[in-house]
Symmetry: C2
Subunit: 366 residues, 2 copies
């Protein structure tokens, strides 16, 4: 792992050199985890760039609670133990002769910035927000392995839920949600990605329905949108089932969403503008006359956050990069009646996308 | 509920008038929930103050996803539907003649502030961070009722865990943690307050140990630190058990922590400096010669956040206010051997503190 983190820090240093910054003060804890593996709740990281690959000028700072942890998780960087991690690293950067110091202006608050300015002295603080998030868009194989593991825990949990009759008339949405979350943890997940969505019957027409005491009934659509985390990495998957027997309108809408989802997956080609990926799936639903029932974007990046760049929607920007990990999740929602969403998590690859969520997408009657 | 929220907004308006601000732009989502009951994931709130109690100049803003939700949860305020909630409300404040507009400088990022400045025009943006957090320190009875409910779910779950033999040699820390979390949800919790701490044997000496595959054994201390949430409000409780039989050193350290905790609870008197409350509990442990093994502060406020003001520790500031809800949680940790922490959540009352976590604190052998 340590070598992966070092490689990421060197990639960041190249970006900093492009921006003519001498160093970056990293304060977003997820970015610190990405660059070092450190998982404590208070930290800052000073990444100094120069013509060498030497890292002796870079420093991680955390407080006394994490003295042991930081030496174990980040053996290859100098550690500075203090409560005031950010201001202390600015002072040290000044002593080290750093002239232009970038800071994460998308996470640093106005009050924090004021405190930084007070200690900056000769150091020029420059806004450099989102730089590491840009790197994080492209996952390395270490990250893909963790995402694959998180997706596998979710797949296994869903399979057990179905096998054990967890989806049956008479249960409440909440019961199903709790069981599914419990099963993910049992299958090796460290946690859940977000509150599990279980939406039965008419509730399935609400895109982000929260589970209630509503009771599953024969003939219902049951939509499950859920994910597991593994060492900080998130999975995201949606499947929609039918209980007991399928009505014609249900089969129709299911097939439509399935087709749309396949078109979206097929459009995951490196270099494609994200708006075109969205359109590939949306066109299928538009052609069936239901465009106005597809209420959201097609997908989003997944990694250390459940929603991260790139956003794949009508208003998205940029193109798909090789190594991006994204969701493809079209949906069609008939208000008051029911809806279907089908979602996978995939890696964008040169030879075609790699599916990480492996549960069947065939219409399943349980 | 609606009337409680209105009362909180009027209290905020009085604070704004004291600061000579015409209005406050609220962007911390927890503060918006506190002031309006709105629970969506994107919102801003403009609270305008003047000599009346009329609220027609105040506006809540959220995006189209929450159109129905905002009208249901906040029927008494005008709603503005847009994606760019913050900048839009600044524009509307300008049109309404607001001169001095406070913003939450402790949560607004440097990048957001830049965007705000671009649309501010004649409106003067002034830093007013932490104002609502100050109000939130004193809970009203509506809030205490939710905190009591959250604590009751945690009490009930722990009781069931013990009754069902959930704490027994051979189980892993993780299994116990998962079961306890599952039971809290079953007992009416909406969620868990934080990742449950289960620490057996020598692990109990690590104050914030995360559950592992470590196996519970006869003679172990088992420390459980956990909580439930109810409509956004958090409970927090720690109990330490002994498995099978108690050694003399275990009884000694348990009794010491129990005495210290009782002293801390007794010191919860309105008007007491928080440093004195901390000292009341700490003195007991100091007197036993174990002061250096009590590694953390005595407690913290609890409410919409699991940790909020006031901090009760050596470096704390201010005095206890009537209506504050705080934890009292001394601990003594023998590294490599085991430790004890006992924690309650309590309301500071004029007639003496009200205990919200009701599980017995007698030394319990399971």
């Amino acid at each position: 792992m340590s070598e992966d983190h070092r490689r990421r820090r060197l990639a960041l240093r190249a970006l900093l050199a492009d921006r003519n910054a001498d160093a970056l003060l990293v304060t977003n804890l997820l970015n610190i985890r990405y660059l070092t593996g450190f998982t404590g709740s208070n930290a800052a990281l000073l990444v100094v760039t120069d013509d060498t690959e030497d890292e002796s000028r870079s420093i991680i700072s955390t407080d006394g609670r994490y003295l042991t942890q930081v030496s174990e998780q980040v053996p290859d960087l100098r550690a500075e133990i203090t409560r005031a991690v950010g201001t202390r690293l600015i002072e040290l950067a000044g002593k080290d002769g750093v002239g232009k110091l970038g800071f994460e202006s998308h996470v640093i608050t106005v009050d924090q910035h004021r405190a930084y300015t007070e200690v900056a002295g000769e150091v020029a603080l420059v806004r450099l927000g989102g730089l590491i998030e840009q790197l994080r868009m492209v996952k390395d194989e270490q990250e893909v392995a963790l995402l694959r593991g998180a997706c596998a825990a979710a797949d296994a949990a869903l399979s057990l839920l179905i096998e054990n009759g967890g989806l049956r008339p008479g249960r409440t949405e909440r019961e199903v949600g709790r069981q599914l979350e419990f099963l993910m943890l049992e299958q090796g997940a460290d946690g859940i990605s977000f509150e599990t969505i279980v939406a039965a019957g008419a509730n399935s027409a609400v895109p982000h329905h929260r589970p209630t005491e509503a009771i599953l009934a024969h003939g219902d659509f049951v939509k499950l949108d859920f994910g597991a985390t593994l060492r900080g990495y998130h999975s995201d998957m949606t499947r929609t089932f039918v209980l007991g027997s399928v009505a014609d309108w249900q089969r129709e809408v299911y097939d439509l969403v399935l087709q749309s989802q396949a078109a979206g997956r097929a459009a995951l080609v490196p270099g494609t503008p994200v708006t075109e990926v969205d359109a590939a799936a949306r066109d299928v639903i538009d052609a069936a006359g239901h465009g106005e029932l597809f209420l959201h974007g097609l997908g989003h990046g997944v990694g250390l956050e459940i929603h991260e760049a790139p956003g794949i929607g009508k208003g998205g920007t940029g193109t798909l990069l090789t190594g991006a990990v994204v969701t493809v999740e079209p949906g069609v929602y008939f208000s008051g009646r029911g809806g279907v969403r089908i979602e996978d998590t995939l890696v964008v690859r040169d030879q075609g996308p790699e599916l990480l969520t492996l549960t069947s997408k065939e219409l399943t009657v349980v």
